[in-house]
Symmetry: C3
Subunit: 347 residues, 3 copies
């Protein structure tokens, strides 16, 4: 339970039309919020729903105050306020400090008393955990890897040897940081493996989803800068460098040695070729095929629109004839020009 | 070993031309089935291979009876019969009930005696397992999560806190249900994490492949209805709702808050944008880019056909000129119309 | 530390202009290599950078010898030499032989004294490990599965029951070999699961990245031939057969029963339909949609080029009109032909 007074204090804003004693149990969507729920309006299109709102309190912009039938608090950015307040309603207790007896900690590892090490977790030789680190059940920290303070590995997450994770990071379950990059040379009889001698360096406040893979570098490190956020099942190949605050949505795949700027966004399933340079503030829509360098900030896309399959098939066949079609058009233009000229001559 | 009598009893059908005493050790493809193998014909195109079949028994449709040189059993749907019989030939023993001494079960968790808890598995505080639940090696069930009766987690599968899984479900190895949805608000200095306060609710008889991620909801739950089947490496983002019997093939990615109807099918690598509504009985071919709502049942596709790269490159360049090309065509049409009119005037 | 003499002996080549006593600590990229680093030049485009190189020794082709300001060793294929030498600079110690007390080994499993079994790893009944096998923390080997000599599972990797992995293989963290193929028959009430009675057979010297899924076969086995290399997050469905030395980059998805030849390459995120046959030496660019059989070696592609979103939208709309556009062009051609003929008649 949280009081409105707590919320207002947490946001550092004015109490608006609401009483500081209002008690709130949860955050709920506008449509189903009841008297003990907090709700939010972040966009104009939700104002209609606001009219019937029964929430205990609504966070909104001052300009929408008059549309609100229940107590409300005004802020400049309600969505950001929602993000900040959401933590107050988290019910999962933080794991207690201490080491589960079934965890295996190498005697040469550094584990502060404030750390919480779950059942079956493993910290290998020479690894160093910062204050308040949480390792979930079965998480693994390899030889000489380092986690900064307050960072958390959820169950089954794996940091290979030498990986460095900054402060206040989250790595969700079964994600793998520092597996070998995909480096092989072709020999006479097959593939000759290239030992991946670099590592992965991850900054502070980096949030990594579940089932992610970020490979270690071949010679230099793979680098993820501060404040990058990465969704589930993203793959980042060896020696990529991802700039600050860049956001990468689910199932994006990035090939090796690509350098991405700051404040970029990648929507789901975007594929990025290797050895590219992508400038700051470049944004890619879902499934975009990024196979060339990007030097201008802006939005980029590729692909074709969804169509009923029968219709799509016809158009897809024509795609394979596009170059021929274009040539036919050019020919037609030339013939028409000739006709026009001939007609001109006639006059 | 199974007798033909067992099979017929299991299917509840007539014995056909086969002797109930025939002993069968395995199911085999038509082409290599021997006298102790059971084989199936489910489509007309396999009738050719049937002629040379040496199987101990063949399951087929009554109309193909005369084409079969060996004993056979007739059923209305041989492929469905194959599915039902396949279980009789499963050789992997069900794990014995009981708790491996290396498993960690919180004293406040509920684990029936019929459950089988593998080495290193962990059941956290307040979690509740139904009868006959099987947890594989290293599987994790978070705080307050619930598994219905007969459900099984294979090794390394992770259910986060509060996740609810129904009866008779399967979750294959290293899949992750209930990690945080990808929710962040942009603040002045970077991304402000939105606590994901919802959970994941999964119905009965849901089959989930390996390496899948299904994220917990932001406020409401992410919901997977009864009888949904999900292949490996699928990603379902926060607050998606998937309708009954919908089938999702490998590597599909679905962005947040999308609502999918019943009996839909998604082929491999389909990408679905967020906040869409997809009606019942919509079907998507591989790699389809689903970026708009679907209101009509049917088959949908996107993309371009595979071509030799040299040829593809030419056509791909033309794609980028398509709008210009169309304008040139329109101009040509106008010029030709003008010519025609002029010609008409001449007459 | 490695001496140049060691390198030359390892490669079996001539010492070139370099002194056998030179000591080297690491391999480094040409641009930042210092006097105790080894560097490589594998392509002409790096010759410019070579001029300022300060490396202790450079490996290059004999024809570039005169461009090198520091000691160098000449080889026919510098990239291959780099691969071979990279192993000499690996600093991670091989895990010691022996079984961690927290590992669980079924009494009926075969584990040689030379094997290294990490904390919390599990080897189930009847499984057989070859000499020098390494199982990382929490890795799982199912009933009757077999690993050939020198093979290694990194933390959390899972081999299901009956899976066979050859000699000298690597499976990176949390990869899953042998989970159920996605096989279901449609019944009256929903999906009827088809027991996946086949397994997975993997040859020798196969390298498998992190977060990979390779499903067990329905009746026959899924097969990965010798010397195949597979990057992170690849999905290979049941009953695929992958030919020798084929290389599969990150996030590729392959549907069931597809047979791939030898020496093929799949770039990132390629999607392959089921039941296809792909010949030897076929190569696919990133995100290619492989939905038909391939009978000619060569390079194949699909998709459209990346464009600024505003421009892409216009072209994408035109794609949906391509068939209509083509028909308009044909009509124009006919009209122009008619005009030409009429003009001819006039003469």
């Amino acid at each position: 339970m949280v009081t409105l007074g707590d919320l207002v204090a947490h946001l550092g804003c004015e109490p608006g039309t609401a009483d500081a004693d209002i008690e709130l149990d949860a955050i709920a969507p506008l449509g189903r919020a009841g008297p003990r729920d907090l709700a939010f309006v972040s966009e104009v299109r939700y104002l209609d729903a606001l009219k019937d709102c029964r929430a205990g309190c609504v966070i909104l912009k001052a300009e929408w105050l008059d549309d609100c039938p229940v107590p409300c608090v005004c802020v400049a950015d309600p969505y950001l306020a929602y993000a900040r307040l959401s933590r107050l309603f988290e019910t999962l207790p933080r794991p207690a400090a201490g080491m589960h007896p079934s965890a295996f900690i190498d005697p040469t590892a550094t584990v502060p008393a404030s750390a919480s090490i779950g059942p079956g977790a493993c910290v290998d030789a020479g690894a160093v955990l910062g204050e308040n680190v949480v390792l979930g059940h079965g998480a693994y920290v390899g030889h000489g890897a380092r986690l900064g303070k307050n960072s958390r590995l959820w169950p089954g997450a794996v940091l290979y040897h030498g990986v460095v994770l900054g402060d206040d990071c989250v790595v969700h379950a079964n994600s793998i940081i520092g597996a070998d990059g995909f480096g092989f040379a072709r020999g006479a009889d097959g593939w000759e493996k290239i030992s991946q001698l670099g590592s992965v360096r991850i900054g502070n406040r980096v949030d990594i989803g579940a089932g992610v893979t970020i490979d270690r570098g071949a010679l230099d490190d793979t680098v993820i800068a501060d404040d990058v956020i990465i969704d589930d099942q993203v793959h980042i190949a060896h020696n990529c460098v991802i700039g600050r605050r860049t956001a990468i949505a689910g199932c994006v795949g990035m090939a090796g040695s690509t350098v991405v700027g700051e404040d970029c966004t990648f929507a789901g399933q975007v594929g990025v070729s290797g050895h590219l340079k992508i400038c700051d503030n470049a944004h890619f829509t879902g499934q975009a095929k990024v196979a060339r360098k990007i030097e201008e900030p802006g939005n980029y896309s590729s692909g074709t629109p969804l169509e009923p399959t029968r219709q799509w098939r016809k158009n897809a066949v024509r795609f394979s004839q596009l170059d021929a079609l274009q040539r036919r058009l050019v020919k037609l233009e030339a013939r028409l020009n000739a006709l026009d000229e001939a007609a001109g001559d006639d006059d």
